[in-house]
Symmetry: none
Subunit: 136 residues, 2 copies
Amino acid sequence: MTVELHFQLDFRSGTPIYEQIVEEVRRRIHGGQLKPGDQLPTVRQLALELRVNFNTVARAYRILDEAGMISTQQGRGTYILAPPDADHGERLRQVTLEHLAEDFAQQALRLGYSPRVIREAFEKALLRGLSDESNG
Amino acid sequence: MTVELHFQLDFRSGTPIYEQIVEEVRRRIHGGQLKPGDQLPTVRQLALELRVNFNTVARAYRILDEAGMISTQQGRGTYILAPPDADHGERLRQVTLEHLAEDFAQQALRLGYSPRVIREAFEKALLRGLSDESNG
DNA sequence: CATTCAATGATACAATGATACATTGTATGG
DNA sequence: CCATACAATGTATCATTGTATCATTGAATG
């Protein structure tokens, strides 16, 4: 399922190779030829095709990764990411909060504390956290 | 009966998958959701659920095995060994309600949630924990 | 020229995946 | 009963993928 890119580098342009790769992938993502979930060629595959060292491709991929456009995963490959969506990020954050809350509640209950005592401890900790936040 | 874990991996976090699995199982053992004698999902079941190779799960299980927290047995399965309070190597600190509450409050605040949202998540989790306690 | 520094290459490494294997429990047939 | 076959489990080994580190190159600069 890894897509083919087929594009030509200009070795004489003065623009670094890794930059040319970054720009090409960028264009294809914006142009829609590359869609979220698509797997890019491996660093070695693309390097072979472009006749460059695979570290150069890796460098381009790393830049795109840091820009949030792709996801590089050691041992797995690199994939196009969905464009950052504020709503989606919010949903993930909410999941995390629920997870934290659930862990806390379960552990507290398991230690045998009553709901009333747990609520008190929670409220106290929350207020303390708030004052810490505003002061320090 | 093998327990279900359902948890999400973060493929983009940079933390290796096997490490994320190790930590998740650790948390559930300490939190009491996993008790001695419980059978974990088989490496293949969990791998399928998490969409990773089963060797990655096997690696996590092996680490937990070497830490003395679980027992993996070829041809049989893997089982929780550790009593929840026996801490293996790491943090031997006393887990108190105050600590739990403080950790939860601080982490939630650090994520940028408003006190109101945190209270809602907490209350919901607590009620759910209570009903789980009485039912299951 | 010598020096410096960014770009690229070479090499070793870590994480994950694919595949074949050994061990255990259970069903099946005699 | 016992033996055998089979299915399910974890294990071992190697291939594949990205990462880290250092060496090399080549152009800019003094």
